[in-house]
C-alpha cells in the first residue's frame, strides 16, 4: 500500500495530495508527518491540494488534525493551491479550517512558514562562518 511521499523543502515539509485519499492513507500521512517533523526539526508543513477536486469533511478533519499535531510540535501548517470550486463548496458546507493558514501556491506558502519574530541562529553554524544559516 502506497504512502504519500513527504519532501523536505528548506525548513518545511511538503506534501502533495493528488489522489482520492481514503482512510488508511490519511492515517498513515498523519503518522508519517508527525514523525518527520520531529526528525527534521521542520518549522512548517505545507500541504499542496491543487490536485484535489473536492475536499469533504473527512479531508477537513485530516487537515485540522495535521495542523493541531504540528502546532504541538511547533510547526505551522499551510494549505496551498485550493481550487475555486472547492473553496466555494467548503464555505457552503460550513467547514472553516481554522487551524490552518492558506496560500495560493507553494512559493507564497513558504513565506508564511516560520514568519515569527525570532530568527534562529544555530550556534554551530555561527562558529563555522554562518553560511548554513541561510539554508531556507
Amino acid at each position: 500500500m502506497d504512502r504519500i511521499p513527504i519532501l523536505k523543502l528548506g525548513r518545511a515539509l511538503l506534501v502533495s495530495i493528488q489522489v482520492d485519499i481514503h482512510d488508511r492513507l490519511a492515517k498513515a500521512l498523519e503518522e508519517d508527518l508527525s514523525e518527520r517533523i520531529v526528525a527534521t526539526g521542520a518549522r512548517g508543513v505545507m500541504i499542496d491540494i491543487s490536485g484535489l477536486e473536492i475536499v469533504d469533511s473527512f479531508m477537513g478533519r485530516m487537515l485540522d488534525n495535521i495542523a493541531a499535531v504540528s502546532r504541538l510540535l511547533d510547526a505551522d501548517t499551510v494549505v496551498v493551491g485550493m481550487r475555486p470550486a472547492v473553496a466555494i463548496t467548503l464555505v457552503e458546507l460550513g467547514l472553516s479550517l481554522t487551524g490552518v493558514k492558506t496560500a495560493l501556491n507553494v512559493e507564497r506558502g513558504m513565506a508564511l512558514i516560520g514568519s515569527g519574530q525570532y530568527e534562529e541562529i544555530d550556534g554551530d553554524d555561527a562558529l563555522e562562518g554562518g553560511d548554513e544559516r541561510n539554508d531556507g
Binding site: V80, M82, P84, A87, T102, A103, L104, R108
Partner: protein, 285 residues
C-alpha cells in the same frame, strides 16, 4: 367515456381539412398570427390536429397519457417559438382554444337531432382541449422564465468585471443588488481571477450596491471566506454612511477591514503588500 372519444376521433379525423380551414380563419380573426407565415401556421394546425385525433382515438382521458405525447411535443414547439417571438400568453393559448369552435360545429353537424349527444361530446372535447390549453400556457411560461434567466445571467456577467489594480491587487466593483444567483457568478469570477493573477488582495467595492441587509452581507461574507480559503484576503470599500448605519442597526457584522473609498482601500493594500508610493519632483524643462 371512451365511446365519446372514439366518436370525436372519427368526426375530427373525417373532417380534418374543414376544421383546419375554419380554425385558421378564427386564428386570423383573433389577430396576431400575421407574425408567422401562413404556410407555417397551416402546418402547425395540421400536425397538431393529426396528433389530437390520435390521442382521442386512444381514448386517453388525461393529456399526460403517452397517447398525447406527440400533441404535447407539438404544442411545446408552438408555445416556445411564440414565447421567443414575443407573443402574449393569450395569443399563444388562443392557438389551442380556438380549435373548440370548429370541432363543435362539426359535432353539431354530425348529430343535428341529438342535443344530448352533442352536449356530451362537446363537454368531453372541451375537457381535453382545456388541458392542452393549460399545458401550452405552462410551456410558454417556462420559456419566458428561461429568457429572463438568460438575460439575468448576461447582466450578472457584464456587471461583475474583476479589475487588476496592481500586481497582486484586484478590485471587484459591484453594481446593483446582490442576490444568491449573482453572488455565485461574482464568487466564481473573483476566485478565478485570484488564481489567474496570483492576487494577494481583493478590494470589493460596494459603492454601487443600493442596500446591504443581512442577506447581502451573508453573500459578501461567503465570497470573502472563499477568497481567504484560497490564500487571498479582502478589503471592502465604498460603504456609504447610510449603509453603515443600516448595517449597525441590523446587527450585520462584516469580519473584514472596510474603507470608505476605493482609494483608501488601495492605500491599505499597498501597505499590506509592502509597497510605498513615493512622490518625486518632476524635472522641469
Amino acid at each position: 367515456m371512451e365511446d365519446g372519444f372514439a366518436t370525436l376521433s372519427k368526426i375530427v379525423g373525417e373532417r380534418e381539412s374543414a376544421i383546419v380551414a375554419r380554425w385558421r380563419q378564427l386564428l386570423v380573426e383573433a389577430g396576431g398570427s400575421g407574425r408567422i407565415k401562413d404556410a407555417e401556421v397551416e402546418k402547425q394546425c395540421q400536425d397538431f390536429l393529426a396528433s389530437f385525433v390520435a390521442g382521442l382515438g386512444a381514448g386517453a382521458t388525461s393529456v399526460n397519457d403517452p397517447a398525447y405525447a406527440k400533441a404535447r411535443e407539438l404544442l411545446g414547439e408552438v408555445s416556445r417559438s411564440r414565447a421567443n417571438q414575443g407573443f402574449t400568453p393569450t395569443e399563444t393559448a388562443t392557438f389551442v382554444f380556438s380549435l373548440k369552435e370548429p370541432i363543435f360545429e362539426q359535432v353539431r353537424a354530425s348529430y343535428p337531432d341529438d342535443a344530448a349527444r352533442v352536449a356530451s361530446l362537446g363537454w368531453e372535447m372541451t375537457q381535453i382541449l382545456d388541458q392542452l390549453g393549460l399545458y401550452t400556457m405552462e410551456v410558454y411560461q417556462r420559456s419566458r422564465e428561461d429568457v429572463v434567466r438568460r438575460q439575468q445571467d448576461e447582466i450578472a456577467e457584464l456587471s461583475t468585471p474583476v479589475v487588476k489594480l496592481w500586481e497582486g491587487i484586484l478590485a471587484l466593483p459591484l453594481i446593483g443588488t446582490l442576490d444568491s444567483a449573482r453572488t455565485q457568478v461574482v464568487m466564481e469570477n473573483l476566485l478565478q481571477a485570484i488564481v489567474d493573477q496570483s492576487a494577494d488582495l481583493a478590494i470589493i467595492d460596494i459603492t454601487g450596491v443600493p442596500t446591504v441587509d443581512t442577506l447581502v452581507a451573508q453573500h459578501l461574507l461567503k465570497t470573502i471566506a472563499a477568497a481567504r480559503l484560497m490564500g487571498a484576503d479582502c478589503i471592502v470599500s465604498g460603504i456609504r454612511p447610510q449603509i453603515a448605519q443600516t448595517m449597525v442597526h441590523l446587527g450585520v457584522e462584516l469580519d473584514v477591514v472596510s474603507k470608505a473609498t476605493l482609494a483608501d482601500a488601495l492605500a491599505l493594500a499597498f501597505q499590506r503588500t509592502g509597497r510605498t508610493v513615493v512622490r518625486k519632483a518632476i524635472a522641469k524643462g
